[in-house]
């Protein structure tokens, strides 16, 4: 049905959760310590993914998850042991499952052969690792024959005895007495014994089609015989080991020739016996032959009306309305004490006692929350607008209005926080991916690594969580690859063989701070410096502080690895991490002690929807500077300003020289203050701690602003992080301080239109000191 698509999102969401469950489970799995609940959970996860995939027709996904599931099934049955190899294979399989889900989500076909290796490994695990001789797959608890034949096809069925009960009940309910059997025509029951040769499939024939074709002739009851099925290990999947007995109840008009037709192409490749049973009792309307097969279900009453079926099926007692009473009596008692009480909720199965159906949580489409966030954003803007108008009123009057507005502001803030908390997620969803990464990195580098985590429950906006994955991945790789020593070296210098990487998260003054600490060798400053000089990032002979050297690793194009290793040398360096973090309004810094290790500190806003900013004006334009970047604003005296080799202006601020960047020059804004002593210098700090003096006309005040995308209808602009709407309804751009620094540094390279005269501040090689500071 077309409505299927409506479930796809649910499916992909759910699958992502299941994948995470499976992955976490797999990572906890280790030889000799097998938690069966865990294995079962993984099995179920894969099983559910397969189930859904089948519903949507994602055939690659079905095929692969089936292989995966089979191994998990054997594992939980104890048929194969847990080995390190197997765990690795399963982790790979889980990865691949994720990839296939991705392809399915994009509605593209996965590259051919994508799963081949892993499938082979999975199959190998099945055949090579058996704990004990394989059991026959179908130890055939052969279906207990029933007095009433099952009403079934290959998609669904009702057990004969149950059906009889239902039909009996139906008949009781039907006072007219016409319900049952009224539509049955004059019919013949055929018994067909179909035993194909085992190479039937090789001829391109498909028994399922034949069975289906039979179904079109009438009502069929199919029994598949599994007796000839070899043990799984001996199974040749290309050969057929099944045979069938089919009873076909068809109109009298369906002759033997019609049945023969079905098997026309395989007549020589199978052993086929077809026999007709006695005609069924004549029925009410013998003149309506075709009615029965197509009749709506309630009218399908044939099984109940049928007399004793062929001999092979008559050995069991007649149908009972309490099916399999014996089985349930024993099993019911066996664990009855524990589970009988239907009202007894299970701990951890949240809220099982509230009608049993729901937990205390609801699932809400993200779009809805985003709409809510937007509305709150609009409210913040409206409130700022009212506040602005109110400022124009004579002071001292409208006291109550003022107070009301303050209350409104407070409520708006609380509302915003509540809404944002809906989007909040613990960072554990990202942290939980890291053990896996550490394993891989350790394996690739031959190092021994322990990962410690803390603060996993720290909550942060969903978008921030999602954007944490890449930077964290890179930082951890970096720590293992560059930071930690090999086990031998560590032993030699008296450290434990295994290095430790500690990943932590915490809230600190309205931001989330994430630290990646290692106890390795620390940053090799001599090496970093010589590399930077070699790459022309630093002038030879420059004197840099330790901290400055450490931060060189965030410069574009910097990479310390002597040879590009498998890990860090994937084309991106810490500069990309820094840039991505900074695009999220975050900052990253590094602290390192030689011989003791390094600590990377990353801080991000808790939400990407709102930020606290300082509104500034330049010419007729207004901009917003994120508060987190601002150190202070000052009005320099002429004596504080210096020209530096005619290239740029520097200013003494807090005992340090900082380079001045005139925003109006950078952005080409007319009618702006060009003299820093008559405007203001906002001292801003980029994520690596380097400072810059931004020359603006005026600082208008601090304000909470709602972040609006410039890119959704336009595109990204250098030096601009996003946009917002101010109280008067006008748009203001939110500045990207790191981007401004880049721009000011490379203006010489730029071919952009620049109406205002470009100052000569971007010489290709400012002093190393400035490189660092600016």
């Amino acid at each position: 049905m077309d409505d299927l698509s409506r479930f796809k999102q649910t499916y992909f969401d759910e699958s992502a959760e299941l994948m995470a469950v499976a992955e976490a489970g797999l990572l906890r799995l280790s030889p000799g310590d097998v938690d069966m609940d865990e294995v079962n959970a993984i099995f179920r996860a894969v099983h559910s993914i397969k189930g859904g995939a089948g519903a949507f027709g994602f055939s690659e996904l079905v095929a692969f998850s089936h292989e995966f599931e089979t191994v998990m099934d054997e594992l939980r049955n104890g048929a194969i042991p847990v080995t390190t190899d197997l765990i690795d294979t399963l982790i790979r399989a889980n990865d691949l499952l994720g990839q296939l889900l991705g392809y399915a989500g994009d509605e593209t076909d996965p590259p051919p052969g994508l799963t081949d290796d892993t499938v082979a490994a999975l199959r190998h695990a099945l055949s090579a690792n058996r704990n004990s001789p394989p059991q026959p797959v179908a130890e055939s608890t052969a279906p207990p024959a029933s007095a009433t034949p099952d009403d079934e096809d290959d998609e669904a069925g009702i057990f004969g005895d149950a059906l009889a009960a239902i039909n009996a009940a139906r008949a009781d309910d039907d006072p007219s007495g016409t319900g049952s059997g009224s539509a049955t025509a004059d019919r013949v029951r055929w018994t067909i014994r179909f035993r194909p040769k085992n190479d039937l499939l090789l001829s391109g024939n498909e028994p399922a089609y034949m069975l289906r074709a039979l179904r079109r002739l009438g009502e069929v009851n199919i029994h598949c015989h599994l007796d000839d099925l070899p043990a799984l290990a001996d199974l040749d999947a290309e050969l057929l080991h099944l045979s069938w007995t089919i009873t076909l109840t068809a109109d009298a008009s369906v002759g033997r020739d019609r049945i023969d037709d079905v098997f026309e192409f395989v007549a020589d490749d199978c052993d086929l016996q077809i026999s007709a049973d006695a005609p069924l009792p004549a029925v009410v309307e013998p003149t309506a032959p075709a009615a029965s097969a197509a009749a709506p279900p309630p009218a399908r009453s044939e099984p109940a009306a049928v007399p004793a079926p062929p001999a092979t099926q008559t050995t069991t007692p007649p149908a009972t309305t309490a099916p399999a009473a014996a089985a349930q009596a024993t099993t019911g008692k066996g664990d009855g004490a524990k589970t009988d009480g239907p009202t007894k909720p299970r701990g951890g199965n949240g809220g099982g006692d509230h009608g049993g159906l729901t937990t205390h949580t609801i699932r809400v489409d993200l779009d809805k929350i985003d709409r809510l966030v937007n509305m709150v954003g609009e409210m913040v803007i409206t409130q700022a607008m009212i506040a602005e108008h109110l400022r124009d009123l004579p002071p001292g009057q409208f006291q109550e209005l003022q107070e009301g507005l303050e209350q409104l502001a407070q409520h708006t803030r609380e509302l915003r926080e509540s809404v944002m908390s809906i989007r909040a997620q613990p960072v554990s969803s990202v942290f939980s991916r890291m053990p896996r990464l550490v394993r891989e990195c350790a394996a690739l580098t031959g190092k021994e690594v322990l990962l410690a985590t803390s603060g996993e429950n720290t909550e942060v906006d969903k978008t921030v969580v999602e954007n944490l994955v890449d930077p964290l991945t890179h930082m951890i790789r970096n720590s293992i690859d560059h930071g930690l020593e090999g086990p031998e070296e560590r032993e030699r210098i008296g450290k434990p063989r295994a290095g430790t990487v500690h990943l932590s998260a915490q809230h600190r003054s309205g931001r989330i701070v994430i630290e990646v600490t290692d106890d390795g060798r620390g940053i090799n400053r001599a090496k970093v410096l010589s590399k930077a000089i070699e790459k022309g990032l630093v002038q030879p002979g420059a004197s840099l502080t330790d901290e400055e050297i450490d931060h060189l690793i965030f410069l574009p194009g910097f990479s310390t690895a002597d040879q590009v290793s498998n890990l860090s040398g994937r084309g991106v360096g810490m500069d990309v991490v820094r840039r991505n973090i900074s695009a999220l309004g975050g900052r990253i810094g590094v602290y390192s002690t030689p011989g003791e290790g390094s600590r990377f500190v990353l801080s991000l806003p808790l939400t990407l929807a709102v930020l606290d900013g300082m509104v500034i004006s330049v010419g007729e334009e207004r901009f917003v500077l994120p508060l987190t970047n601002i150190v202070e604003s000052l009005r320099p005296k002429p004596v504080d300003l210096h020209g530096l080799v005619n290239k740029c202006d520097v200013m003494m601020a807090r005992g340090e020289y900082v380079r001045l960047v005139y925003l109006h020059r950078l952005f080409g804004i007319p009618k702006a203050v060009d003299d820093a002593t008559r405007g203001l210098v906002v001292l801003v700090e980029t994520e690596d701690g380097s400072r810059l003096g931004l020359v603006v006309d005026e600082v208008l005040g601090q304000q909470q602003v709602v972040i609006k995308s410039l890119e959704s209808n336009f595109r990204r602009l250098d030096g601009v992080a996003a946009a917002t709407i101010l109280g008067d309804g006008r748009v203001a751009l939110i500045l990207d301080v790191a981007g401004l620094r880049e721009m000011s540094r490379h203006t010489g390279d730029s071919d952009r239109a620049r109406p205002a005269p470009t100052p000569a501040l971007a010489g290709p090689s400012p002093s190393p000191r400035q490189r660092q500071t600016v």
Partner: protein, 125 residues
């Protein structure tokens, strides 16, 4: 057709996707559908309100489908409650197991919506 009280179907599956699909299909066919994510929750649901049919997955956490069926059958009031098992494998041994536990019938996942409706109509009208 004369007005009738909607039949209530309980769908038990740990997969949200599957529950959604069953619910959507059956609601469209005029059934009231309630959901439970595992056997235990299903037991609770059944105790809390009368249901006319249970459609249950087999592999589930906390309490699996076969256990659910057995437990229901052990309660006199639910001896004749129709229970369909929704399963990816409908081989004979699986069916035999279900039958032995007391299932009324089975539906193969993924299911054809029309098929599901027709089977449901068959067992609970």
């Amino acid at each position: 057709m004369e007005p009738r009280v909607k039949k209530k179907v309980l769908t038990v599956d740990d997969s949200r996707t599957m529950r959604d699909m069953v619910s959507f299909t059956l609601r469209g066919a005029g059934y009231e559908v309630v959901e439970a994510a595992d056997g235990q929750a299903a037991m609770t649901a059944i105790a809390a309100s009368k249901v006319d049919l249970v459609i249950t997955d087999l592999n589930m956490p906390v309490m699996d489908g076969l256990t659910l069926i057995r437990k229901l059958r052990a309660i006199p009031a639910h001896r004749s409650l129709p229970i369909l098992m929704l399963t990816t494998e409908a081989d004979d041994s699986k069916k035999a197991e279900g039958r032995a536990a007391g299932a009324t019938g089975w539906i193969v996942k993924p299911f054809n919506p029309d098929k599901l409706i027709s089977v449901v109509q068959k067992v609970c009208g």
